[in-house]
Symmetry: C2
Subunit: 347 residues, 2 copies
DNA sequence: ATTAGCACTCGCTTTAATTGAGTGCTAACA
DNA sequence: TGTTAGCACTCAATTAAAGCGAGTGCTAAT
């Protein structure tokens, strides 16, 4: 079926209304919305089509429609207009440029915090990183009969940790052996010198512990991957609780817990590939915890320091056009503020 | 009325039971609790006495009792026994000492994160600070007809901001004038050279804006106060949502929002006065947002760098004895790890 | 192709009834 | 005099039923 002009208008209207209200939107609501002067019955027919096409869904019979991930995707890719900042908004955001911050990382973090405050969005990001990080050392702390905490310390003294569950009982000789092995083979080796082969080598060497080694190496690999974007941060996490979709504490807790974990932020930040704005909608997210979230990500680059990432996170019902525009302004500001500055030495 | 031996036992039993279950505890529950072999009726009488003394309260008639702030206070000061770590607990925590972290601030933050992970408590803290901070510059960004965002940048490039509401309409000349004045008089002046007199002077000078100046100066004063403890952090904030007292999103949001604001954390950290453990229970807190929270705070000191603060935060129904013991272990560990290290230069 | 009309669906809200944990009080007992 | 068994009473929380109303799909007329 084809997406005719009128269907586009209706889809757009449904999505924009839903973004504002968080309530399923019915045919009458749309029909009263001037624009296209047709009756609710006509809208109903069109909406039934849109549902068949997978762009809208009904939470239950006899409820209005809400957009599906595909619906949002269509909207974002083909329908969405540029958000126009009001004069006062633009003034407010522009004024922030006056800030005379010299330390780049701190500047970005704080700029982010102020944006979060002014826009009421939650912002996640990573600071610009270089490419020669290494892991300083590994530690393993036994927790239960069959689990241990693996702690990884990077060159920047960033500590990452993860609880590893084994499928058999372990004792301190096991944890010691594993951590020794990791320290001997991987500690101090810069990222660029580590590849999968090296890791396979280790696995072969540790034949006996093969079965228990897999989760360990997975985590180690993750840590190595995230070495260059060394610091991640989040601003205004509690703003998520303003959204009715998180009026259920269980939901809120799952998301906040997910965001509390720096590893997850790292993975998110790493997923942005090029310099443009990337939008990840609902079920398009890899992490199951984010299946009801959308993320609008963009990268910025700082001369001599590499690239970092900044993005908004919120419910799928996010004001995409505003988020994109704001994000562009924000990254543009960062580029502006740093482009005429010499990169400072590592702190 | 006197707090007899039996009343003490009952009070302790009620509090400890409530700490575990978060449910009002009734007389029968206590009577079944061996210890003192009396019937529920007797317990009822005693509990009525304890209520009269202000140590217990009833959420409603026909419900069990819950401790009041005063009840917790009595418990903490006079009844509480030392928490005994189990062997596995102590092993687990001790192992963390092996971490070879060199940068003190980072170490403390990360140690804190791991403790939060292992104990399932939320931890707040501040890093050790020096005493010659200054404010680098001030900015004011108009937001509405009658409010503006005051932004303060410190020597460490920490940015603090607060929305200031005026009781009259303002325009950009006002905000400019105020920020100019602040920059001229206070920017670059180290903390020790600023006193209240100086601030009064400024107020006199700015006669015309007297009325609008008060909130501005209050905030500036706050910033100056917090200059030495320059960095605050929070670990495991989402763990608060595990507690049934925050199953109400509104409540949770209020608290998390409060903790999102670094100013508030600063104020909390600043409130610990001496080197020992300080416990602030429920309504003893200054901030209304914390009236249902308790905080167990302690300071640590690092040679040559001054003192910092670390503490647990949770609902009043907190396991005080465990929190105190854990905190002592944690600060002890910090002291241990840093005492034989030369302080490093400012980063 | 559009629309008015209508029967039908189903989540949400309101109200009423029921349950049960816990209390205070009284009277009996050691 | 302190303790205890017993009982009527209270009140939040749970459950069930009833009613509401927004919204749909379908049909027949325009």
């Amino acid at each position: 079926m084809d997406l005719g002009e009128r269907k586009k208008k209706i889809l757009g209207a449904v999505i924009e209304h839903y973004i504002r209200t968080a309530e399923p939107v019915g045919s009458r609501t749309i029909s009263k919305l001037d624009e296209l002067g047709v009756s609710s019955a006509t809208i109903r027919n069109e909406m039934a089509d849109l549902e068949e096409m997978g762009l809208l869904t009904q939470p239950h019979t006899s409820a209005g429609r809400i957009p599906s991930t595909m619906g949002y995707r269509t909207y974002v890719d083909r329908l969405m207009k540029n958000y126009e900042f009001s004069v006062s908004e633009i003034n407010r955001l522009r004024s922030l440029m006056e800030l005379q911050l010299t330390e780049v990382d701190s500047m970005i973090k704080e700029l982010t915090g102020i944006y979060s405050y002014l826009t009421n969005y939650t912002i996640v990001g990573s600071s610009a990183g270089n490419n020669n990080g290494y892991i300083k050392n590994f530690h393993m702390v036994q927790i239960d009969r069959n689990s241990a905490l693996l702690i990884v310390v990077t060159d920047k003294n960033i500590v990452k940790n993860k609880q590893i569950y084994f499928d058999c009982d372990i004792d301190s000789t096991v944890t010691e052996k594993i951590s020794n092995m990791l320290n001997e083979n991987l500690a101090g080796v810069v990222k660029s010198k580590i590849n999968l082969e090296k890791i396979y080598e280790i696995q072969a060497e540790m034949d006996i512990y093969k079965s228990v080694l897999l989760p360990v190496l997975n985590f180690v690999n993750e840590c190595i991957e995230s070495l260059d974007n060394s610091e991640v941060f989040i601003s205004g996490a509690s703003k998520l609780l303003d959204f009715p979709e998180y009026s259920n504490v269980q939901k809120a807790k799952e998301l906040l817990e997910f965001l509390d974990n720096k590893e997850n932020l790292h993975r998110m930040a790493a997923s942005v590939d090029n310099a443009d704005v990337k939008i990840i909608i609902g079920s398009e997210n890899d992490a199951i915890e984010l299946k009801d979230c959308s993320i609008v990500l963009s990268s910025y680059s700082i001369k001599g320091k590499g690239t970092g990432t900044i993005g908004f996170i919120g419910p799928t019902r996010m004001n995409y056009s505003k988020a994109v525009s704001t994000l562009k302004l924000l990254t543009g500001q960062i580029d502006n503020l740093t482009s005429n500055k010499e990169p400072e030495g590592e702190k």
